[in-house]
């Protein structure tokens, strides 16, 4: 209803930037940088997924690394043992993570917040131990190597093979866009609003007729599915999966991305994923100090920017745009009068 020309303008810019980002590989020659960007995209998808349940629904999970792992392993197993290509392993991963996500959500979301944290922690640890010990299926500690790249995409006369990191970028970017799109569509619907209401005040939400448990479980399932899709992409991108990738610390990393970027914000999830991936790569120069600095940064960030970077930006913007808001308000008032 306040769809002004300005917001259309914003949309157009957004679309242009979105398309322009596809051209990024032409600007980057160093494959290592490309590799990092690809990793960021995978992490962004994970962070978006976790943000759905943590940021938008207010339910904390420290087990989403396990969903990531389930997605990756499902893709790896289906690809290696059945011999299906990426386009078929992906739906497999999605369906399986959705099913397990539903079950875990159904069990865990009956609990109060603090206990949900514990339950997801337990779940994540169990899944990791299963990866490690079910050697026949998962390859045990060796993991599964040699997962094939997605098949070459043929579009008319053009062929897009997946040979180097530059080739994966558009595919991953499309999935991140898809994630952003789904998030936006969900958030701006009755369902998404129900989730935010639950986050803010469960009792009041319920009094408005929102089926709290059902909504939470649905969102948890969707959130797990995001991670499952990210897992399938990861498996086919890195060609190898192994249990240590999907330990508790992966769950924590994703959660930290969401927290540092700012909960309940699409941009926040992407910023969080970028910052953590880049800082983790940049600190590679000093392997002994890397995790030390990383831990320290997390503490500092969470102490001083409790709402993450998006929260910080919000504050700055509010300061700067005070004037702007006043002007807009008066125009809004006019519009209101006109309506009458």
């Amino acid at each position: 209803m306040e769809q002004t020309k300005k917001s259309y303008f914003q949309k157009i810019i957004l679309i242009i930037v979105g398309i322009a980002l596809f051209l990024l590989p032409f600007a980057i020659t160093n494959p290592y940088i490309m590799y990092i960007i690809n990793l960021i995209l995978i992490y962004a998808l994970l962070a978006l997924g976790l943000d759905l349940i943590v940021g938008y629904t207010g339910q904390v999970s420290v087990g989403h690394g396990a969903f990531f792992g389930i997605g990756a392993y499902t893709a790896a197993i289906v690809a290696k043992k059945v011999g299906l290509s990426f386009w078929l392993t992906l739906p497999f991963s999605i369906v399986i993570t959705a099913a397990i996500g539903f079950i875990i959500g159904f069990i865990g979301l009956k609990l109060i917040e603090e206990y949900l944290v514990m339950a997801t922690l337990a779940f994540g640890t169990i899944i990791w131990l299963v990866f490690l010990n079910w050697t026949d299926l998962t390859g045990g500690p060796m993991g599964i190597a040699g997962i094939p790249a997605p098949p070459t995409i043929k579009l008319g006369g053009f062929e897009f093979p997946f040979l180097q990191y530059h080739d994966y970028y558009p595919l991953l970017l499309i999935f991140v866009y898809l994630g952003i799109l789904i998030t936006r569509l969900l958030i701006r619907s009755g369902f998404g609003r129900a989730c935010t209401a639950i986050r803010d005040d469960e009792l009041a939400a319920q009094a408005m007729g929102i089926p709290v448990f059902k909504t939470k479980v649905t969102m948890f399932t969707i959130s797990a599915t995001f991670c499952g899709a990210a897992g399938a992409l990861y498996a086919h991108f890195l060609h190898v999966v192994s249990p240590e990738t999907f330990t508790f610390s992966m769950s924590v990393t994703i959660l930290t991305m969401v927290m540092i970027g700012g909960q309940g914000s699409i941009a926040g999830a992407i910023i969080g994923a970028s910052i953590l991936t880049i800082s983790s790569e940049a600190l590679r120069e000093t392997p002994e100090l890397r995790m030390l600095i990383y831990g320290f940064l997390i503490v500092i960030m969470i102490m001083f920017f409790p709402k993450g970077i998006m929260g910080l930006i919000q504050i700055i913007k509010r300061r700067f745009l005070q004037k702007n808001i006043l002007i807009e308000k008066s125009s809004v008032e006019k519009e209101g009068l006109g309506y009458e």
Binding site: M1, E2, Q3, S7, Q10, K11, I13, L14, V17, L21, L24, A27, I28, T29, N30, P31, Y32, I33, Y35, I37, L39, L129, L132, N133, T135, G140, P141, M142, G143, A145, R188, L238, H239, V240, V241, S242, E244, T245, S265, I266, A267, I270, I271, S274, I278, E281, A282, R284, P287, E288, R290, M291, M310, I313, K317, E328, V332
Partner: protein, 389 residues
């Protein structure tokens, strides 16, 4: 509503910031990378070490790093190779495949390394060689898995012996000299443990030895009482333990505490560390393993190695020596290749180098084929009880 409508602007601006940041990063990286790529003509050659520097395996990574650093110091003090100094880039693979891929990616694509030493563990190495192979970067690993012989990667070499060499040697000794019939296996649930156990099962058939039980433990476990109690009831002649030395020391400690008195042995020289004795005390006395190196050997190479280790205040461990050798042959191959990866590979494949770990030659799979000696812990020292054949 208005606020959420604002989101796009945020996103755009942040995406731009992000992009700038990334480009900025790539710019700074490529200047450093450029430094190294210009090092083709410049004064340094980068060498990478892919090894666990943090986590449970960090001690091995540290030993390897010591060895490689010693070698590089020696080479550089003698004028480098082809007039260029060597520079070490250390990458922490955390003993995991995904991290290994990440660090090797960085080393090759960003730091422009010409050769990589590592990793210590098999599965990270297997994953990482997928990156180093196509990039034609020499990769000298210390993994145990036979799969490393089957990659078809011509640039992958292994500076230690494979499990299929160590295991039969030690098992043969146990069966023939110690008259062992019933063996209990206790191994860590990693590719290393499984590989060694599989090799042992294979050669046990020919030797008439029987595995009465196989117990596993997860990496990082420090409590083996459950497994040991189980083994105790089966009363085996010997126990084959496959694991990291500190865990082996613990296992034997805990066995002693549980009153389990039995001969312990393990397949390879990853046991060969003073730490085993420090941690295990008299519980590890009589422990038997196969080794490709004897640090008390009187060879010229060994003396020299020990001398520079002492000068640099670095403990002379087996892994340090092996990594030292690896760095030496890598340097030699790079020197002969003169910047051409094909030629360097050629040179490494045909190398015949007298190292502290014995003669270094590689077969068509990039494996060494020395025969190991058998060692035992006696009175707190490592003693050769059977020379290599």
């Amino acid at each position: 509503m208005r606020l959420s409508k604002k989101l796009p602007i945020k996103k755009i601006s942040l995406f731009i910031i992000l992009a700038v940041l990334l480009v900025g990063c790539s710019a700074t990286k490529s200047t450093s990378g450029g430094g190294s790529s210009s090092s083709k003509e410049g004064r340094t050659i980068n060498i990478g070490l892919q090894a666990p520097m943090t986590g449970d395996n960090a001690q091995y990574g540290q030993d390897m790093r010591n060895g490689v650093e010693l070698a590089i110091k020696k080479i550089n003090s003698e004028g480098g190779i082809n007039g260029k100094q060597l520079k070490l880039m250390v990458g922490d693979d955390k003993a995991t495949p995904s991290e290994a891929v990440a660090v090797v990616n960085k080393m090759i694509m960003n730091d422009g390394v010409k050769g990589i030493i590592g990793g210590y563990n098999s599965s990270p190495t297997l994953a990482a060689q997928d990156v180093s192979g196509p990039a034609k970067v020499l990769h000298l690993n210390m993994g145990a898995s036979p799969d490393l012989s089957k990659t078809g990667n011509k640039y992958l070499f292994r500076v230690i012996l494979t499990g299929s060499v160590y295991v039969p040697a030690v098992l043969k000794y146990m069966a023939e000299e110690k008259k062992v019939k019933k063996i209990a296996a206790l191994f860590e649930n990693t590719d290393y443990g499984i590989t060694m156990y599989d090799a042992a099962k294979e050669s046990a058939k020919d030797l008439g030895v029987e595995f009465v039980t196989t117990e596993k433990y997860n990496p990082g476990d420090k409590n083996f009482s459950a497994q040991l109690s189980k083994i105790k009831t089966l009363n085996p002649d010997a126990i084959m333990v496959v694991g990291l030395y500190n865990e082996v020391a613990l296992i034997e400690q805990q066995a002693k505490q549980a009153g389990l008195k039995v001969q312990f042995f393990s397949p390879d020289d990853s046991m060969y560390s003073q730490q085993l004795i420090t941690l295990g005390g008299d519980a590890v006395e009589n422990h038997i393993f196969a080794s490709m190196i004897d640090l008390n050997a009187g060879t010229e190479e060994m003396k020299e190695f020990k001398k520079i280790a002492e000068e640099n205040k670095i403990p002379a461990q087996a892994n340090t020596a092996i990594a030292y050798d690896a760095a030496m042959v890598l340097a030699k191959a790079l020197e002969e290749g003169k910047g051409d990866p094909e030629k360097s590979r050629e040179s490494l494949a045909n190398i015949d180098y007298k190292g502290i770990t014995g003669p270094i030659r590689f077969d068509e799979n990039g494996d060494r084929s020395n025969s190991p000696m058998i060692m035992q812990v006696q009175k707190g020292a490592f003693v050769v009880i059977k020379e290599s054949e």
